[in-house]
Symmetry: C2
Subunit: 391 residues, 2 copies
């Protein structure tokens, strides 16, 4: 007799990003494929000091079991961070999660029955698709344009079905790099209130703006208790800690805590306390400023390289922050096939089709610029452009 | 319109352990309720050195994203540890998990369809019940006696239903403290092979034996690829790292990796590397020896205190290791009610009923002895005995 797996597993395949990343770990490949922050900017020395101070000052309690919601000191510090983003909340509203990815898993767990409908931007974040697929969601992709998701379309698409939530990345979206305008955030919130719709607002990149003005999160408007806001320290400090957070209305927060308790009891005490100490003792705002400046330069290098080398059939987004831009090629281009040939020339990206839960995007690709120097970016784009031009 | 949660959430309530732990955080309460290791024994200084060395030697890579399976160096070290337990395996067979608790969640995710049957010891680990409940498992509790789970009963109960796996804790079981005999491990494995049954062997406490001889895990017999073995650094180093592992046959391991990727991408890089460096540079075997000796003394203190103070209607297990013993009171005793009165006398335990997925155990209680000094144990047992005797 064979091993019987749950039905949900038939929908879950190893992601192409993951398979691609394996190849692109080879040092001779210029990779625009991953979503890695620039490691040379990580505040390693400050983290080392913070970790040492935690163990010296707190001792064994830093290595003991903790509460599921997270360490009180870190939750308070996250509430302060939320204030700088325009959202008033208290430590009680915050749950620490094992990276934002766990928040997506918990969201899936508490909301999605098999066959229930969820709305997402089209295209949307690949790993969110995977998390929600695991709970056998039915995806209803919502049209987007240069200003982000179209609120009227959300209104229309949430009219009839059993829609559990809308998942949206308003700032420097993954994969497109686009930002949802302030006017649309307001309209979207109004649709949520009118339709009784929960919005999951995923904001990993919001602090990485290198041009233009900060736009407050949708959560800043949330008097009705409809918005679950997610963020992470992965892009502003370092991803290796797997420490993110959710700010949620009380009834949703309580369910998230129950689900998290069964999922991993709590997030690493040592990591939480090390992050809290780092944020307390060092100037993270100055650190983020450095990251922003570097990513801004890298973006500009990529944009300039694309402008000077890609043919007329190609267009791309001009993100004001974040880590990605999105290239659309001529009708009929197959970027999955292009990737195979790109790897022979030792350059990599993620084909667009992976980000469309309902199909499409075959002529698109996502390029990451945060993890390469400007020089590497110019060389990689040149290889890519040669390939696209049939050179 | 209200928020619609998934059906699975109606089965998931905050656990009583969790609610109890909140009360027992008060310093004036003697708590035999939690499952906390003794923090005063944590190797804090060595961990501080290990963490410092990781950041000094490896630098930013220690804070970057990693692969879902876990850091190669830690997986190799876990394979060595498995060898000392009697299981030959390679680093490739190991997946690092965010604590054993995450392994339970992933097991539930890959195996359990709503309504599918799983077998567990009766009683069994409370947080495993919660994890599997979350996937809407149907529990079929298997009778146990002083030698542990009864293999003939497993054979009988796996005959007809759609049984996805048997979950078993062979060493110093939670909650009873009982150990599955070598003969029964063999019989159980034979049943698994004959019935095509997957066994999930959860072994957090195996290294904490303070009396008798080590019995190799069921996994040591696993030529047929039927056993998923789980363990953790929570009891041999410290739980705050939330770092555990699974050793699984390839087809199951592959599914676990896919599920873990969607759950949290990977376990903290910093924690994994700090643990690996600690295990490499320091004498963890000597540390575990210290922990064993202390728990052995604490167990003996609790056993002696119970012997000299509890009335004739009470009996309890004599574990050879681990952190818990299990008291059975006279027929008609309601330990949930007893707990309420115990808290007034500032002593706490976990009522037995919580550990029985199919009901029962109202006259039982679990006592933890790892997290109290011998003196505290004597005082706590004396309070409890007075209460039981109506004094």
């Amino acid at each position: 007799m064979g091993v019987v797996f749950a039905k949900r597993m038939s929908a879950m395949k190893p992601s192409s990003i993951r398979e691609i990343l394996k190849v692109t770990e080879r040092p001779d490949i210029i990779s625009f494929a991953g979503g890695l922050p620039a490691p040379e900017l990580f505040p390693v020395g400050d983290i080392a000091l913070a970790a040492g101070r935690v163990l010296a000052d707190i001792g064994p309690r830093a290595l003991q079991y903790g509460t599921t919601e997270g360490m009180p000191a870190l939750r308070s510090r996250i509430a302060l961070e939320m204030e700088t983003r325009g959202v008033g909340c208290s430590a009680d509203d915050v749950i620490v999660t094992t990276g934002s990815q766990q928040a997506l898993d918990l969201i899936g767990k508490i909301f999605i029955d098999p066959g229930a409908t969820i709305l997402t931007e089209n295209p949307t974040y690949l790993a969110a698709i995977q998390s929600f697929q695991c709970f056998q969601a039915r995806f209803r992709p919502v049209p987007t344009d240069d200003e982000g998701i179209v609120p009227e379309a959300v209104d229309e698409l949430s009219r009839d079905a059993d829609v559990r939530f809308l998942y949206v990345i308003p700032n420097f979206q993954n994969p497109t790099g686009r930002t949802l305008s302030a006017a649309r955030r307001k309209s979207l919130y109004e649709v949520a209130v009118r339709r009784g719709l929960v919005i999951v607002e995923d904001d990993p990149y919001g602090r990485l703006r290198y041009r233009g003005e900060h736009i407050p999160p949708i959560k800043a408007l949330d008097e009705a208790g409809r918005i679950v806001y997610l963020s992470t320290f992965s892009k502003t400090v370092a991803p290796g800690f797997r420490t993110g957070w959710a700010v949620a209305p009380a009834p949703i927060r309580d369910k998230l805590v129950i689900a998290k308790q069964a999922a991993d009891l709590h997030t690493s005490s040592f990591d939480q306390l090390t992050l809290e100490r780092y944020l307390r003792d060092f100037d993270n705002a100055a650190h983020v400023e450095k990251v922003r400046a570097a990513y801004g330069e890298r973006y500009a290098a990529m944009d300039a390289a694309l402008s000077s080398s890609l043919g007329s059939g190609f267009s791309w987004t001009r993100p004001e922050g974040g880590m990605f831009l999105w290239v659309t090629g001529p009708e009929g281009l197959d970027t999955t096939d292009l990737l195979r040939r790109a790897l022979e020339r030792k350059v990599a990206f993620v084909p667009g089709a992976d980000f469309f839960p309902g199909g499409g995007g075959e002529n698109c690709m996502r390029l990451n610029f945060s993890n390469s120097s400007c020089e590497t970016i110019r060389e990689g784009v040149s290889r890519l452009a040669d390939l696209c031009a049939g050179r």
